[in-house]
Symmetry: C2
Amino acid sequence: MKISTKGRYGTRALLEVALSQDEGLVQLKYIAERQQISLYYLERIIAPLVREGFLVSTRGPSGGVALGRRPEDIKVREVIELLEGSIAPVECVDDPSVCPRADSCATCDLWGEVKEAMEEVLDGVTLQDLVERQKKKLRDIAAK
Amino acid sequence: MKISTKGRYGTRALLEVALSQDEGLVQLKYIAERQQISLYYLERIIAPLVREGFLVSTRGPSGGVALGRRPEDIKVREVIELLEGSIAPVECVDDPSVCPRADSCATCDLWGEVKEAMEEVLDGVTLQDLVERQKKKLRDIAAK
DNA sequence: TCAATTGTTGACCATCTTTATCAACAATAT
DNA sequence: ATATTGTTGATAAAGATGGTCAACAATTGA
């Protein structure tokens, strides 16, 4: 039941951009360093985020990426689904036709409930929420 | 975020045993046929279930497996965790020491919440619940 | 006791997914 | 112009997944 690095790195990359928003464009190199992600791999993850408008990019010297939407309007669920596909723990939850047993299978219903529980959490947290949580965590650590 | 066939097949196999409980021992071959799982692969999945006492087995002619615990006392979560390991979407949720960033990372907290939400669902459903749900589904289909 | 039957286990392997890496290219600021 | 920075297509190592097989152990019943 693991989330892959794409979803994890992607979320962290967006968070990094959101945190650095005030200073203008954020370079991939900077994100890669701060989040300890290979720059080459990060490129793979940023691409779909740009394509779908979560980020906007500018090439050339002093180029970089910035948020393409307000952080309050980006749900973590959207990011995960973009980078990993459906969150459904089994395919039959999204498409019963893949399993001949689907409509008479009690376990399929259960997996559907698991999916809904996960969705509820991930729908309830926006990038802005993550920013605030992150700032609070850093404050708490500094105060200690 | 997929659950692997081990967890899925294992759950279905236990359900099949629970449903056939009254007729005594259930053969692997029977489970494999009913659930459309390769017998060879099913052996792989049954083994840990026997080892951990979810099932008890008898070899030889007219042998088979039976539930080793009352279905009301088997939570789906236990089955999944046995067959797939922790349900945590990322490792750092269970063991913060794997990530140097863990204690100052807002996303790690979020993955923890996802885990808890899934646990809540899977802790709340026992094998007996699945049996009842399954019977109801079959009744509903028959009545239609 | 023997033979048939059924679960157990260790070894094996093809395929797919994950996690990258690199080089060539496109755009842009100075 | 040229250096810089994002984009994209090709490639691939490593690990997980899903499955198979054969030898073996236990048990039943004739």
